[in-house]
């Protein structure tokens, strides 16, 4: 089986949201979010109220997966940055530490240059956090302290009791 799934702890989550909050401000952007390559939303900051972040996460991961497929066909490892330009809003998508996807939504109050610059800095910080997170998750997995180790068949059946 491939390695363990992603686990997010309180401490790292706060570090991550702080970095994303800062990126929203520094890049003059509207929304910033992080997705894992399987399409699960990790965190989102900025004006997310009217956004369907779950769908955005899944489509972003699909987009990165398709682009990654293209890259392989061309003999590239991956295309680490994608940029989509709209009439109003633009999307800057980049891969952090080969594992997670950082998405910045911005309009004409910012610019591609500024976003790229700020994303680069944030990516380095995020990359370090995810490295630690993976080590921690692996250690916990081998330690066998899964929060689900204790669940019973009844717990599972109860989910479907309606």
């Amino acid at each position: 089986m491939p390695g363990p799934g992603m686990v997010m702890y309180e401490e790292e989550f706060h570090q991550i949201t702080q970095i994303l909050e800062k990126l929203v401000k520094d890049a003059n952007s509207k929304v910033v979010f992080l997705v894992d390559k399987n399409g699960q939303l990790i965190a989102a900051e900025g004006a997310t109220e009217n956004l369907d972040t779950t769908s955005l996460a899944s489509l972003t991961a699909g987009n990165i997966a398709a682009t990654g497929g293209l890259a392989k066909l061309l003999g590239e490892k991956e295309f680490s940055i994608l940029f989509h330009e709209g009439e109003r809003d633009n999307l800057h998508i980049s891969i952090v530490g080969m594992r997670v996807i950082l998405v910045v939504i911005f309009d004409n109050r910012s610019s591609l240059g500024l976003v790229r610059l700020r994303v680069k800095k944030s990516s380095e910080e995020l990359g370090r956090i995810f490295d630690n997170l993976m080590k921690k998750a692996e250690a916990e997995a081998t330690g066998g302290s899964s929060p689900f180790a204790e669940i019973t068949d009844d717990d599972i059946d109860n989910l479907f009791s309606e």
């Binding site: 363990p4 699960q40 769908s55 899944s58 997966a65």
Partner: protein, 195 residues
Amino acid sequence: MSFINYTSREINCKIVYYGPGLCGKTTNLQYIYDKTNPTAKGKMISLATETERTLFFDFLPLSLGEIRGFKTRFHLYTVPGQVFYDASRKLILKGVDGVVFVADSQLERMEANIESLENLRINLAEHGYDLDNIPYVVQYNKRDLPNAAPLDELKKLLNPTNVPEFEACAVTGEGVFDTLKAVAKLVLQELRKGR
């Protein structure tokens, strides 16, 4: 690969519906979407061609309720069934926690079923998974059609390892939720093992 978030106390799992073209994968998801309480589901996304054939994937997020204080969320995906979309199919299996193989019961689709099942095994292996070691169920769809093959034959050809199997008619919804429940259960049991 599940995603456990201790901060929001959520667990996210990914289930993929696999099977030959026109076997009813999207119909399964559509039925689940139609019959689920609006508070328990997100938007269903279909990346399809103009003729409503799946081009990349369908996506439906579902919440199943809480287990030991953790909200359980399942992300359901379908793959494009048509043979030439293999590159896309491969991508969607990334990080999968559970698989539903939807078979088309019609006699004339038997070869397509077998081919798709072999393709599933190969594509999973590319991601490092073994179909015999992951949560996996089989659904025999279109049981209502007059040209449906006998169940015994389907079992013999498509379910030699005897995983949980269900007869279904996705258009009317028969067997759709039984299939989903079975695979979700297997995924949760797998989580209990700590993988």
